[in-house]
Amino acid sequence: MSRYIARRLLQAIGVLWAAYTVSFLVLYALPGDPARLIAGPDATDITPAQLDALRAEFGLDKPLIVQYVDRLLGLVRGDLGQSLPTGRPVAELIGEALPSTIQIAALGLLLAIIFGAGLAILATFSRNQALSRLLLALPPLGVAIPGFWFALLLIQWFSFGLPLFPAVGNVGFASTVLPAITLALPTGATIAQLLSKSLANTLREPYIDTVRAKGAGPGRVHFRHALRNAALPALTVTGLIVGQLLSGTVVAETVFSRPGLGRVTATAVAQQDIPLVQGIVLFAAAVFVVTNLLVDLIYPLLDPRIVIGRRRVARVQTGVPA
């Protein structure tokens, strides 16, 4: 078990290193002059000497490979470099923005699970064909709706139409509701699509017939027997869902004028703040890797058929009589 965790941790570090390399290649090795970006678009009368000074200050005058190693060594120490326009440490900027983003992302995830899973369960549980067909038509709609537009509609209806929630800002719980709903829409639709498909498949399995034959009512079959197995495939996409939430904050926080990681990202892209963008990309990759690691560790607790660190094939072979 501990060997398995150690191996998975090494793999995770490998993915992060690769993510660093890919983002470095994309952001630094492509043609462009970061020094001009630091100086800003208004600095047309800047002298070459001043540009050189800027390059030296941010270490941009060294060969690419030296920059690559320097930044990698910094990364190992937890130093993500400095933001170009402000000169502040990238890690600090991300850390400051995070709490506000976690608030709406957590509430969004909660809403997505409640409504996504609720819809999937109701659609497969209902005997009413028309109702379940209607319910199953909703998730594709939720995936197709542009998030920025949905957010504006929410503002129109629930801030201006019915003044229930504030349209902007980050003061109090009420201000998190509309951004969280915006984040929950595509995520909840994804969960509903996955879970309803997997529930429908599970309900066709022979063991469900056995359970029914033994006299279990529909509710017991659905919740005690089918749902537990059907939820497992949905669990494997947790990493993807967290990534979806994270990138959703770029739009949600812009529309609702909330400070947070999404806003920081939007501004960083607009100002072509390369170190900050790289820091955010690495942060997103780290979140994905850690989430997947956790899911893999939790999985065997939920499904005893999966044994960590041992070959499953051997177990299956001994389990099946010749």
């Binding site: 993915v15 690769a18 993510a19 890919v22 983002s23 994309v26 952001l27 492509l30 462009g32 594709p140 709609l141 995936v143 197709a144 709706i145 542009p146 998030g147 920025f148 537009w149 949905f150 504006l152 509609l153 503002i155 129109q156 201006f160 990493g239 990534g243 979806q244 994270l246 990138s247 770029v250 739009v251 812009t254 529309v255 990202t265 939007a266 960083a268 892209v269 607009a270 072509q272 703040d273 390369i274 963008v277 790289q278 955010i280 990309v281 997103a284 990759a285 994905f288 890797v289």
Partner: protein, 319 residues
């Protein structure tokens, strides 16, 4: 092999009693009965396509909508006689009416006209994005699946890394370097989808590569490049086409979101995402400026997704 003939509704004899020879004759007979001679021919494919449409009216609607939108990108003048850039200031911010279906904006420009003209920018960008994603992704997947060994390992590890970064963030990182503008946004969105395409292409190529006819083609002395492009590529393209339709919808969403954020088309050029973004300043007074362009975006994405689903079920059935 109990093959149900979709055109006549007859079922071939019970597979348990049929010998291999019988089954072969059945297969030949059912192919002969299929419209347009062979089931693999272009006419057969068209017949199957028409059949799918007749059975699924939703798909017909989706295709019709996309055709309308595609026509509007080439010939916007067919749908509206008004000007997308110059407005009538006296008629500013009027609600939807018979003269202005979608109302007018703050400069008195007809919003319906701007949406129709805007489809060109948005859809061109989406097509560029899907084209890049498909081309680069398929090529990488093809190489990974066909050559295997270390090439496969390298390409798949890179795609693992790319998949660990949310695609919108990846596109944003690319925009940071490439700069703003519709084409750059399209390139960024396209490159963001490369990893997913290459995965699917690779798994398909591996499935096809192990097929007997590929072995036969190699054994009869064809060069590997010929086998790759004549046999492997056409037979593994199906699921990639399904993904392409899906990516088209995703690309429209991503491009309009990035334009909404201000990285794409600059005003006064009409673009679906930036139209919604402009309407944002008039949320309380002019609901139509945000609501109606948004509905058009959602319908187009919905149509692309519906076509992808129809292609997918068609693909599964033909296996």
């Amino acid at each position: 092999m109990t093959r149900t003939d979709s055109t006549t509704g007859t079922t071939s004899p019970d597979s348990f009693v049929a010998t291999a020879g019988d089954r072969f004759k059945d297969a030949v007979a059912s192919r002969r009965r299929a419209p347009g001679g062979t089931a693999r021919g272009a006419a057969g494919r068209l017949g199957r396509f028409l059949l799918v449409l007749r059975r699924h009216p939703g798909t017909v609607l989706a295709v019709a909508w996309l055709v309308l939108v595609l026509i509007s990108t080439v010939a916007p003048g067919l749908f509206t006689g008004q000007d997308p850039i110059d407005g009538v200031p006296a008629e500013k911010l009027t609600g939807p009416s018979a003269a202005h279906w979608f109302g007018t904006d703050q400069l008195g420009r007809d919003l319906f006209t701007r949406v129709v003209y805007g489809s060109a920018l948005t859809l061109q960008a989406a097509l560029i994005a899907v084209g890049i994603g498909l081309l680069v992704g398929s090529l990488l997947g093809l190489l990974a699946g066909f050559i295997g060994r270390w090439v496969d390992d390298v390409i798949m590890r890179i795609s693992d890394v790319l998949l660990s970064i949310p695609s919108l963030l990846l596109s944003l990182a690319l925009i940071t370097v490439l700069g703003f503008g519709t084409v750059n946004v399209a390139i960024a969105v396209g490159l963001g989808s490369v990893a997913a395409v290459s995965r699917i292409m690779r798994s398909e190529v591996i499935r096809v590569r192990n097929a007997v006819y590929v072995e036969a083609a190699l054994a009869s002395g064809n060069r590997w490049s010929r086998v790759l492009f004549r046999h492997v590529l056409p037979n593994s393209a199906g699921p990639v086409m399904v993904l392409a339709a899906l990516e088209f919808g995703t690309a429209i969403l991503a491009i309009s979101a990035l334009s909404f954020l201000g990285y794409g088309a600059q005003p006064p050029a009409p673009e679906w995402g930036s139209l919604v973004s402009t309407g944002r300043n008039f949320l309380t007074t002019a609901w139509w400026l945000t609501t109606l362009p948004g509905i058009v975006i959602a319908l187009t994405v919905l149509a692309a997704n519906a076509i992808s689903r129809a292609l997918d079920s068609d693909e599964r059935r033909s296996r």
